[in-house]
Amino acid sequence: MWSITPEELTAIKLSLRVAAVAMLFSLPVGVLTAYILSRGSFRGKILLDGFVHMPLVLPPVVTGYVLLILFGRRGPLGSLLEQTFGIVLSFRWTGAALAAAVMGFPLMVRAIRLAMDAIDRRSEEAAATLGASPVWVFLTVTLPLSLPGIIAGAMLCFAKALGEFGATITFVSNIPGETQTIPAAIYAYTQTPGGDGGAFRLSVVAVVLSFAALIASELLSRRTGQRRAGFE
């Protein structure tokens, strides 16, 4: 009952890889997007805001379908990527990572943006009066001060990526060893006679991993907060 089969272990490893890649690659874009949304004042900001948050409210199947159209081998972006970089996303684990990243992106941006909004703008002004150019102000003040939010956002994105199902299965299907992440494997087990044991074991693993990610995020944010308050 409690022993994990090699197939299940493959799904777990794949899920962790997909989630880690999704988080790491979306992090720089997420920080930049959050910064633009927090500090920018330009026409169309509300549109960018809406666009970033779309995956949060759209049916995941629709998101997956849009990815399939854009990044499929014959899609405009998919064919471009294949011809220039030799990167194929559809029906590959990299595509699963893209789907997970897109779904986790709004959560990440939201957490980072809230942290950036909460920074006292006068800290940035003070740094500028001391001679720091805007890039230096961003690197030495904005970024470190929003670190708890960045960590929280990254962890949320990771946890969301671990659990992503609808967009993934639509975009890259459910191929064991290639695109079959934990949720897809659980779904497959529930569709198979006698698959209850596998579904149960993987569900327990999913609960443990998600919970661990949340706790880790909380602990990391708390530690950075304490250092700031001078209790180190």
Partner: protein, 366 residues
């Protein structure tokens, strides 16, 4: 040398100010909402004028006519905020070093250790800003601004968030910056005693405009005619030399041609020149030398001028023996009862306790 001339219109507020200060400390003085902080922000580059020009020595910071608008980080204006604004994620040491990193190497005139010593913050270097007291935070903020090798120091109410004892602790540091480092300072404050003590030139602001500018002894000699509250802001400046300290009473006696002045606190040694600021509301006039009064200071002089008007109050200016002037805020009734008129011999009485320690400046001397 600071030349400032800017116009800026905001909903419900218009700033239109113009002043020049050749050296030392220019104090922007006025009630809240008069535009002092806006001027400080304009100099630092955190606000931008609709039109105008700001120059420090030969460096033009803003000139709208010539299309010049230097970004904040290229101005080298050291701004000290009201609450310090230390970077919370850095230690005191890192905060101090922050601006130094960006300052041009050839401009780093003041060594790190000298600043630390001048401000007495050596024991705080490893601490985080959140653990500092208000006074410590303010001293670190001043040090950080100095180490960025600024052309000009702008201090926006740097003492406003501190208690009286801390204010007295920091004022001498600012005086030393002005005198020993010859750093031009723009000092923004609504605290008359601080301004009286530090300013070479006072720019008095009201409703976004410059109401008066000049040396403190001139600007504060007479109140603004259109504001009844300003009778509290007429101030006279007297200079004397320390005659003796009375250690057992923690009191100093100053020698002045019109009589001895008793000061709370020790401002010796003997021979030091001490300048004090006295508010007109704290001066009592007597037509003969009083006896049996607790007031120690009685300065002999003659009535020089009596302000007109038909309100309840008036301002009487007395020319003291030796030539200094002191103003007294009196009721017109008292003026009539005592029969005060120009040329009448009077004694100006000043309670020692009414002299704010913040306004007592020792100017050196022997």
């Amino acid at each position: 040398m600071i030349r400032f001339s800017c116009r800026l219109a905001r909903p419900r507020f218009v700033l239109d100010a113009d002043f020049t200060c050749t050296d030392g400390c220019v104090a922007l003085f006025g009630p809240s909402g008069s535009g002092k902080t806006t001027v400080a922000k304009l100099i630092a580059g955190l606000e931008h004028p609709d039109s105008g020009r700001i120059a420090v020595d030969d460096h033009v910071l803003v000139d709208t006519a010539a299309g010049i608008r230097k970004p904040v980080h290229q101005r080298r204006v050291g701004l000290v905020f009201q609450d310090g604004q230390l970077l919370p994620h850095l230690s005191v040491q890192q905060n101090l070093a922050y601006g130094r990193y960006f300052a041009p190497k050839e401009a780093q005139a003041i060594p790190f250790d000298a600043v630390v010593e001048l401000l007495g913050i050596g024991h705080l270097l490893a601490a985080r800003p959140a653990t500092l007291s208000g006074g410590e935070r303010q001293r670190v903020a001043i040090g950080r601004a100095l180490l960025a090798a600024p052309r000009l120091l702008v201090m926006d109410e740097p003492l406003a968030s501190l208690d009286a004892a801390r204010k007295l602790e920091i004022l001498p540091f600012i005086e030393r910056l002005r005198d020993e480092l010859s750093l031009p300072i723009v000092y923004v404050s609504h605290a008359l005693e601080e301004v009286a003590r530090l300013a070479t030139i006072v720019v008095r602001m009201a409703n976004g405009k410059v109401a008066a500018q000049g040396p403190p002894s001139e600007v504060f000699a007479s109140p603004l005619p259109d504001n009844a509250m300003d009778r509290f802001e007429a101030v006279s400046f007297l200079s004397g030399t320390a005659l003796r300290e009375l250690p057992e009473y923690a009191t100093t006696i100053l020698d002045h041609p019109a009589g001895e002045i008793t000061l709370p606190g020790r401002f010796g040694p003997k021979g030091k020149t001490v300048r004090i600021a006295i508010r007109a509301t704290n001066v009592t006039l007597a037509t003969e030398k009083p006896h049996g009064l607790s007031v120690r200071t009685a300065l002999k002089g003659r009535v020089h001028a009596i302000a007109g008007g038909d309100g309840p109050l008036t301002l009487v200016t007395v020319e003291l023996e030796g030539g200094d002037h002191v103003s007294a805020s009196l009721t017109r009734l008292a003026v009539a009862d005592l029969g005060l008129e120009r040329g009448r011999e009077v004694y100006a009485l000043v309670k020692a306790v009414s002299i704010d320690e913040r306004s007592i400046a020792t100017l050196g001397g022997e």
